[in-house]
């Protein structure tokens, strides 16, 4: 009898363990609220879009003092060149893979000359860049990733509502273009 109960418990716990692992691993691919997935589905390619204007994108617990803008990219044909102006207030940028993991992040102080200048390339394009040594290498932050696609998210701090316009102008002036240098 005791052996039977032990056997029963062992089976139950083993199955519980398997189900636990399966649920944890499946949540990122099945979750409906996944913000990265919404961005990958709703945004056009190679264009910065103000996230508050897009239907179907809802980033939970977003910071109300920040304006967000994102650009979706693919690296199969060419690298991506991100460029933009300056903003006196704090801003930051993060490159995510399509699953929402951060590949690279920076803020205005870690940017070269406080300006948004970034090249996102895959390893093959990186090798080509090293051979050509274009001048962008000196003025841009080069992000090498093996992720085939993803998005870059710009966050601009809005200190007072009166400064929202300035932050929005900074975001809408940012460019996200295929890199033609290689």
């Amino acid at each position: 009898m005791i052996r039977r109960i032990l056997y029963f418990c062992l089976c139950g716990i083993t199955l519980a363990g398997i189900i636990h692992i399966v649920i944890i691993l499946l949540i990122p691919s099945l979750g409906k609220r996944d913000a990265a997935k919404q961005i990958m589905e709703a945004l056009p390619e190679l264009q910065f879009v103000d996230l508050s204007t897009v239907d179907g994108i809802e980033i939970a617990a977003a910071d109300p003092f920040f304006e967000l803008s994102a650009c979706r990219f693919k690296l199969d044909e060419a690298g991506v060149q991100i460029s933009g102006g300056k903003l006196p207030a704090f801003w930051s940028a993060a490159v995510y893979d399509k699953g929402g993991k951060v590949i690279y992040s920076m803020n205005d102080r870690t940017a070269i000359g406080n300006e948004l200048q970034m090249l996102i390339v895959n390893p093959v394009q990186m090798a080509a860049l090293r051979q050509i040594q274009p001048e962008e290498l000196e003025t841009s932050i080069v992000v090498e990733t093996s992720a085939p696609e993803g998005f870059i998210l710009l966050r601009a701090f809005v200190r007072e509502t009166t400064q929202a316009e300035e932050s929005r102008a900074f975001l809408s002036a940012a460019n996200c273009l295929p890199y033609s240098g290689i």
């Binding site: 929402g100 993991k101 701090f157």
Partner: protein, 193 residues
């Protein structure tokens, strides 16, 4: 018949235990991969490439986008200093100092991640530039249903809520690791019955 009953009950137990344990491991604020300071929890590795499956499941289920290490670190609190859940019909004081950062923001959200808005339409949030401080740079933010002087964050309605304190451009996410950051305390000041 007995074998069938055995199988069915094993499956039922497996589903229940597996489901509940998966839910708890990503829902509990003091979950896996977190660093905890009083009621505050942060997931410093949520933005990294080597993120563990629990942290990645958590941010996918939450619908949040993690901050990269160079952007900042966010701390979440769902309870007060004594471990009781934060309730919208109670009063609290957030007091103390934050770790070093260029700017920080503190915002009250509903449990599903929408920023709370008071009846007058005011945002229930503060940032390091608009909070009134004492001479030693510490501050007190009052979460209260009644208007109050100083830093007042209006609370209204019922149900649980959470606070998120974000530190932007902070050295505590750098390579030296996150070593016991000093966080403000969330003191309960009674409830409206």
């Amino acid at each position: 018949m007995r074998i069938l009953a055995f199988f069915l009950s094993v499956i039922a137990i497996g589903l229940a235990l597996g489901g509940v344990s998966a839910h708890l491991s990503i829902r509990q604020s003091h979950g896996l991969g977190a660093i905890n300071v009083g009621p505050w929890s942060a997931w410093p590795f949520v933005g990294g490439a080597e993120v563990d499956p629990y942290t990645s499941a958590r941010s996918a289920a939450d619908g949040t986008l993690p901050l990269g290490a160079a952007e900042g670190l966010s701390f979440e609190a769902t309870t007060d200093q004594q471990g009781n859940p934060l309730q919208r019909n109670c009063r609290y004081e957030i007091s103390g100092k934050t770790p070093i950062s260029r700017i920080w923001t503190v915002t009250a959200y509903s449990t599903d991640g929408k920023a709370l808005v008071s009846q007058s339409g005011a945002l229930t949030a503060f940032h390091s530039g608009n909070v009134v401080r004492y001479a030693d740079s510490s501050f007190v933010i009052k979460l209260d249903d009644r208007p109050s002087s100083g830093n007042w964050l209006p609370l209204a309605g019922e149900g649980r809520f959470k606070l998120i304190l974000r530190l932007y451009d902070t050295p505590i996410t750098s390579n030296s690791g996150v070593i016991d950051p000093v966080m403000p305390r969330i003191l309960p000041k009674g409830c409206i019955s």
